[in-house]
């Protein structure tokens, strides 16, 4: 027990350091990718290729004036960014970063904790994150901050509905809330994305909205609200807000990759596992296969982080009514239709085939009725 707890502690420490490190370097990659897309040079001063830029940014933020406006609610003003960062860092505990490690004859999963409510834990913690933004924006006693905070809260809860329903369609297929079980059922290349492509698209879109990323970054749209909910913030408190956004991006990429792309599963993993255990012995081979799985998972996460950035520098921002209409009038009905199709297909003898048949029928009905409706309207 003691020994397992020690290993668990080490794993958690690694995951913690990894999520902080990846979040720090996301800021660097964001700027590099932005520079590439906009045909600029990008950060190139701090170290070779500007690789030390995140450290320089953090150092600079630490030595800036930590400033609290006189009219602000002091306690809440400090607590706000703290909550945002705390919730961002807490949700990585249940994400299975790899298969098991074989140490001293014991199989230990590469995961903070494997509990049977895993995915609910992530959703619960992520939805607490909106309090950080709301408290910070309200406590600043600034109109721009207040509007940014309210927009953020309203947007997050709206997209959470569609996200929750899409999650249901994943759970219908797997029958478990533990992320490890969900990942385990996507062995090899039996990934959920093939069973529910619409669900995947809805989930990715909702993740963009939940992380307040462009095209859904209304809470911090510069041309309307100065800087949104963190207008009054400076120094490392601002840093915590920005940093928590990047940590959230990492976490949601990890969640997307584990729910829909099979996390550490890759085609031919059984062959690699048996090959490595055969060549290098049971323990070392198993561990090496696990490490390969972790690398595959990290690669998938990086791919989604790249997609997040790609979208940011490609699409313009929505108007607020468009944003809300999309959440309520499009995403939510579509996700419910997707849930029904997935559920019906799951009970049928060939889930994969019947899922696509269901989607085709739905698309036919939808576009057909729209054409008929438009024809009628144009005749009148």
């Amino acid at each position: 027990m003691e020994f397992i707890l020690l290993i668990k502690g080490l794993i958690i420490l690694t995951i913690f350091a990894l999520s902080l490190g990846i979040a720090a370097y996301e800021t660097y990659f964001e700027r590099v990718i932005a520079a590439y897309i906009q045909d600029r040079v990008g950060p190139d001063r701090a170290g070779p290729f500007g690789i030390l830029q995140p450290l320089a940014d953090a150092g600079k933020l630490f030595f800036k004036e930590d400033f609290i406006p006189t009219l602000a609610d002091k306690g809440l003003f400090i607590i706000g960014p703290g909550i945002a960062m705390l919730t961002a860092l807490m949700s990585s505990a249940v994400i299975p970063f790899g298969d098991t490690l074989l140490i001293k004859g014991q199989y230990i999963p590469v995961q903070g904790m494997d509990v049977n409510i895993g995915i609910l834990w992530v959703f619960g913690i992520v939805s607490l994150g909106v309090y950080g933004i709301l408290i910070g924006g309200w406590a600043s006693n600034n109109k721009y901050s207040l509007y940014g905070a309210i927009r953020a809260a309203s947007q997050n809860i709206s997209y959470e509905l569609a996200m929750g329903i899409t999650l249901l369609s994943v759970i219908v297929v797997t029958g478990s809330l533990s992320i490890r079980t969900i990942v385990g059922l996507q062995h090899g290349i039996d990934w959920n994305i093939f069973y529910q492509p619409v669900g995947f698209l809805i989930f990715v879109t909702c993740s963009l909205a939940e992380c307040n990323r462009t095209p859904f970054d209304l809470p911090e749209s510069e041309n309307e609200l100065v800087a949104g909910y963190h207008t009054e913030y400076g120094s490392m408190k601002l840093g915590l807000y920005l940093f928590s956004e990047y940590v959230n991006m990492f976490i949601s990429s990890a969640i997307i990759a584990s729910l829909f792309l099979g996390a550490y599963n890759y085609p031919g993993m059984d062959f690699v596992h048996s090959f490595l255990t055969g060549k290098l012995g049971e323990s070392f081979g198993h561990n090496l296969a696990t490490v390969l799985g972790i690398l595959v998972y990290i690669l998938k996460i990086f791919f989604f982080i790249f997609v997040f950035m790609w979208v940011r520098w490609t699409l313009p921002r929505f108007k607020y009514d468009q944003l809300m209409n999309m959440a309520w009038k499009w995403m939510m009905p579509l996700s419910i239709v997707n849930l029904i199709i997935v559920a019906a297909a799951e009970l049928s003898p060939y889930p994969l085939l019947f899922n696509y048949i269901g989607l085709a029928i739905f698309a036919f009905l939808y576009f057909g009725s729209r054409t008929v409706y438009n024809n009628k309207k144009s005749k009148l």
Binding site: I11, E65, M85, M90, L146, I150, L161
Partner: protein, 124 residues
Amino acid sequence: MNKGLPQDYLPLLIQFSLALGFVVMTIFASTYLGPRLRSKRKEDPFECGIESQGDARLPMSVKYFLIAILFVLFDVEIIFMYPWAVNFKKLGWFGFTEMLMFVGFLMAGFYYIIKKGVLNWDED
């Protein structure tokens, strides 16, 4: 593993203390490391250079509250569906039709709020 015992949640304490330590340390460090220069104008709420007018505890559009209330309603309905989704395969077609009815009622309410114009943001 996966028995749901209290000690399964022990790693969570480690993670919580790490995260809390990081946050508290960062906030303290930035408070003591940075300079501190006070002035009246600087500590006023920022309003793009003009004199700040009054308090920011303003009344805001009722739409936001409606959205919040609708969220509570719909989210509770979705929470009802989680136990169904976990036991979905055991319940079979019976569970499916039952849930179809439930979703039907949910969508009837949804149709009502759309017709009521609760979600029309571009008109008052």
